[in-house]
């Protein structure tokens, strides 16, 4: 399988994730779109790592997964805190930092 296929697929996934971040009005779906983008990058790392025959691509992917887990935990905690204040998940409801 040519590496170009993996790169195109990865670009497609990244675009879908970016579109989700810009179009959706739900904080939880926003976080899920970020996960899609991170996974698109992971796929590129692994494909290139396989191409050059090194293990580094997989190692970087481990680190990305760890950061994604930390990001999801903190992001969801923030979502819970915000929802307690406004009873809404729409980012438009949080345009002021102080209330």
């Amino acid at each position: 399988m040519p590496i170009g296929h993996y790169l195109v697929l990865s670009g497609l996934l990244f675009s879908i994730g970016a579109a989700g971040v810009f179009l959706r009005r739900n904080l939880i779906t926003l976080l899920m779109s970020v996960e899609i983008m991170l996974n698109a990058v992971n796929l590129t790392f692994v494909a290139f790592g396989r191409q050059i025959g090194e293990v580094d691509g997989q190692i970087i992917t481990f680190f990305v997964m760890t950061v994604a887990a930390a990001e999801a935990a903190v992001g969801l905690a923030l979502v819970i805190g915000l929802f307690r204040h406004r009873e809404s998940l729409n980012p438009e409801a949080f345009t002021t930092l102080k209330w």
Binding site: M1, P2, I3, G4, H5, Y6, L7, V8, L9, L12, L13, S15, I16, F22, L23, R24, R25, N26, I28, T29, L31, M32, S33, E35, I36, N39, N42, L43, V46, A47, G49, R50, Q51, I52, G53, E54, V55, D56, Q58, I59, F62, F63, M65, T66, V67, A68, A69, A70, E71, A72, A73, V74, L76, A77, I80, G81, F83, L89, N90, E92
Partner: protein, 170 residues
């Protein structure tokens, strides 16, 4: 052939995530997309990574998301609010966003057109490094510092999440 099946599963799953109004359906299809990616990792001869993908993403992170969706109990986006306040209905935002999307597409096309050897098969020249032992050796020697910093990051994220999500007593 298998590549196209897994790629289709991943892309369709991601599209459903972005287009679905109900967050629970989005989550389930995101798990499906992660299974597609897991298959792609197996095709790239990274079996340990494929297993970690399922355990960490589909297992841990998605369950965390599902917990939050069910705790908050907001099943779907408000359609009326979507129509009234969505940025897609602001002409200026649409123009800037459209320009950015075209720029992104051009960048992808440019990067792909400049990459040499796109039609060479993945890993035709080099043998795969897929043994867990080799992975662990590199992780605990060359990437030792990054590994330790990651553990600090996880502790900080855990404490931060608990502090932020805790109920205020006052």
């Amino acid at each position: 052939m298998l590549f196209y099946i897994f790629a289709a599963v991943t892309v369709i799953g991601s599209l459903i995530v972005v287009s679905q109004r109900n967050p629970v359906y989005s989550l389930i299809s995101l798990v499906g997309a992660f299974f597609g990616l897991c298959g792609l990792y197996v095709l790239l001869e990274a079996p340990f990574l494929a297993v970690v993908q399922i355990i960490v993403y589909a297992g841990a992170i998605m369950v965390l998301f599902l917990f939050v969706v069910m705790v908050l109990n907001v099943p779907r986006e408000d359609a009326a609010e979507w129509d009234r306040a969505h940025p897609l209905y602001r002409p200026m935002a649409v123009r800037v966003g459209g320009a950015l999307a075209v720029l992104l597409a051009l960048e992808f096309a440019w990067a792909l057109s400049r990459t040499a050897g796109l039609s060479a098969g993945v890993g035709d020249e080099k043998p795969a490094v897929s043994s867990v032992a080799e992975l662990g050796r590199v992780l605990f020697t060359d990437y030792m510092f990054a590994f330790e910093v990651t553990s600090i990051l996880i502790i900080a994220a855990m404490v931060g999440a608990v502090v932020i999500a805790r109920k205020r007593e006052e």
